[in-house]
């Protein structure tokens, strides 16, 4: 559970990001800040709900989970595993910076200690931290466009973000690459404090999701574990539905 890096979060992260609605990008000549906000807001809404699969491939095992999630605002989300059967019912609730897991086998809810926040979420390459991330890139980082033009046959914009001195982020640098025109993300590369690449999240499979045009597949690839990755694919998604606050309670976590 421990050293699996940043994988678990991705899942959740994905869920969270999905939660927000974003204004359509469209307009030409967005500022870097607007581009970052656009990426942040792609998956956000007042609320969201959806179905996704997560495939985790490691050197030692490979598995696929099917999950349903709900989110409301930017700080509440609930994810429940539907399959495989052995883990069906296992759920994660996040409210603010707190994360709880429900374990149906022992019928217990446990709260994740803060020391485990950097640990892997559900064995994936996302961390628990990825799940609870709620601040915007533009608030935590200074940024500038470091490339604009055609690369690998695509017209792209590359924005390089460096953490502000007091920002509570673990990365030494994040590079966000979006497609020119629609500003949809292509990939985000995370660098450690020594500015070595640590992991990359790729966005692909652009299509319609809950009425938005979004990349429907995200792939997190850790740099230090060749051959390993976590793939998240959104099956269904709805935005801005009515969700009662009680959905994000410990009681509903158990259901």
């Amino acid at each position: 559970m421990q050293s699996k890096s940043k994988l678990a979060g991705a899942l959740l992260g994905a869920a969270l990001w999905l939660a927000a609605a974003a204004p359509a990008a469209g307009a030409a000549g967005l500022t870097p800040r607007q581009i970052l906000d656009h990426v942040d807001d792609l998956f956000r809404g007042k609320s969201s709900q959806g179905l996704m699969t997560m495939t985790v491939v490691t050197k030692h095992w490979q598995r696929t989970l099917t999950m349903q999630w709900w989110s409301k605002g930017k700080d509440r989300s609930l994810v429940r595993i539907l399959a495989p059967k052995k883990e069906a019912g296992t759920a994660t609730l996040r409210v603010g910076n707190n994360v709880w897991n429900y374990l149906p086998k022992v019928k217990r809810v446990i709260k994740l200690p803060s020391s485990m926040m950097s640990g892997s979420w559900m064995g994936s390459h996302f961390t628990n931290d990825d799940l609870v991330k709620e601040s915007r890139m533009a608030d935590d980082y200074t940024f500038k466009i470091t490339f604009q033009g055609v690369r690998d046959g695509r017209e792209i914009i590359e924005i390089t973000c460096r953490p502000k001195p007091d920002a509570a982020v673990v990365w030494g640098q994040v590079r966000v690459v979006v497609q020119a025109g629609d500003y949809l993300p292509l990939f985000m590369r995370y660098f450690d404090e020594d500015l070595h690449p640590a992991r990359t999240m790729y966005f692909t499979n652009v299509g319609d999701l809950g009425g938005r045009r979004l990349p429907r597949t995200m792939k997190m690839v850790p740099q230090d574990k060749p051959g390993e990755y976590t793939l998240v694919t959104y099956q269904k998604m709805r935005f801005d539905l009515e969700l009662a606050d009680s959905v994000f309670s410990l009681r509903s976590l158990r259901d």
Binding site: M1, Q2, S3, K4, V56, T58, K59, H60, W61, Q62, R63, K86, E87, T90, N101, L103, K105, V106, R108, I110, K111, L112, P113, S115, M116, S120, M122, G123
Partner: protein, 405 residues
């Protein structure tokens, strides 16, 4: 032997000087042996406290396990290591490790799960005796856990509490189960106190879907087998795997002991030199007083060897008596300190330096190393110290020697 009888008589020609020299050598030997035995006791005790608890003198890991503690780097044939240890009469305990999450009510904490064989632990190590509350694990799997005391504290766990333990299992799934707290350990050093959660290896295997992976075999002869020999034994039984010793695992402690060892040598050297110089002085004086006698026996045809033997013979008797007497006294005092020790509890309770834990009662250890070695060294150096006066005597010119006085 005649030489020795003559040497004996010569020694007592100056009774007071001989007695003073004897006393000096004896006292030096006494102090030397007692301090060596005390220091050996301190070191052996500290090492034993460290290794006997759970660390072991020698440890075997899969290659690379110590580097990243990967759950998947398991020992290839732990059975062979256990069998080799058992054949040599050395205690050995197989262990599996995994990090996980332990939760109790609203509290949760990261924990290091130890999958252990309680019977083997009991046979080879003392950890089972360091239970503050409750009991140690039983020999059969019972979904029970014994906690390090700080971990128990942070979970507010008591004997009888039921913990949820969550791990990432070997197949990637979220392994989780309930464990009953049957015991809470005493303070056993930071590593155990903070996050150790001991469970039966069968429970561990089930929780982790681990297929019985063993990450460590710790071997412990309780000082009966030299470290290198034990290491070699383990290495032979675990080809291609990493064999370490407690000195590698605890380099700071090992360095500290090495420094102490050197300091003891230095310290010993001072005492030995003091005694040897005293003896050399005595022999020099004795030789100068008898220059004419050496001249006469040279004239009579005595060889240089004869004279060397005469002088060193005297020194030998003096050294033998001095170190022998000192050794006897040292033996008595050391034996007393082996049995009764020095109670240091008024100065400090059980204290810990560099990862080594020391007992409040400081006991000596009598061993070849701590006792016989300093005594023999003392004897040897005293004997060596007599060679200079002996050579002076042997090189005297007979004519000039006889005409002295």
């Amino acid at each position: 032997m005649n030489t020795l009888r003559v040497a004996w008589r010569n020694l007592w020609r100056n009774r007071r000087r001989t007695l003073v020299t004897l006393a000096a050598v004896s006292v030096c030997t006494l102090i030397l042996t007692v301090i060596y035995c005390l220091m050996e006791g301190l070191m052996v005790g500290a090492v034993a406290n460290t290794t006997n608890l759970s660390l072991g003198e020698v440890q075997v890991y899969a290659k690379g396990y110590r580097h990243d503690r990967s759950f998947y780097k398991a020992l290839k044939d732990p059975g062979a290591i256990l069998a080799a240890a058992s054949a040599a009469g050395v205690g050995a305990a197989p262990r599996s490790y995994s990090f996980g999450l332990a939760a109790l009510g609203a509290k949760s904490s990261g924990a290091r799960l130890w999958g252990i064989d309680p019977a083997a632990e009991r046979a080879a190590f003392d950890l089972y005796r360091h239970v503050a509350q409750g009991r140690f694990l039983g020999d059969r799997p019972e979904k029970a856990v014994v906690l390090g005391y700080k971990l128990a504290k942070s979970l507010e766990a008591r004997v009888g509490s039921t913990l949820v333990v969550v791990v990432q299992a070997a197949d990637g799934s979220l392994g989780n189960d309930l464990f009953k707290v049957v015991g809470i350990l005493k303070s056993c050093g930071a590593a155990i106190d903070r996050n150790a959660a001991l469970v039966h290896r069968a429970d561990f295997a089930e929780l982790l879907v681990s297929g019985g992976r063993i990450h460590e075999v710790a071997l412990n002869s309780r000082g009966r087998m030299p470290l290198e020999k034990l290491r070699a034994l383990a290495a032979a039984a675990a080809p291609g795997q990493e064999v370490t010793t407690w000195r590698v695992i605890m380099p700071a402690a090992s360095d500290m002991l090495n420094v102490w060892d050197s300091m003891m040598w230095l310290f010993g050297l001072v005492f030995i030199l003091a005694a040897a110089l005293g003896l050399m002085n005595t022999m020099l004086m004795a030789t100068f007083e008898r220059i004419r006698e050496f001249g006469i026996i040279r004239a009579l045809g005595a060889t240089t060897w004869r004279i060397l033997a005469d002088v060193t013979g005297e020194a030998m008797i003096l050294s033998l008596l001095g170190t022998g007497l000192g050794a006897l006294l040292g033996l008595a005092v050391s034996q007393y300190l082996v049995v009764h020790g020095l109670d240091m509890s008024s100065l400090a309770g059980s204290y810990s330096v560099g990862g080594l834990t020391f007992d409040p009662v400081w006991r000596a250890t009598l061993s070849l190393r701590s006792f016989l070695e300093p005594v023999l060294l003392m004897f040897g150096v005293c004997l060596l110290a007599s060679i200079y006066p002996a050579i002076l005597a042997a090189r005297l010119d007979p004519v000039r020697a006889i005409n002295r006085v």
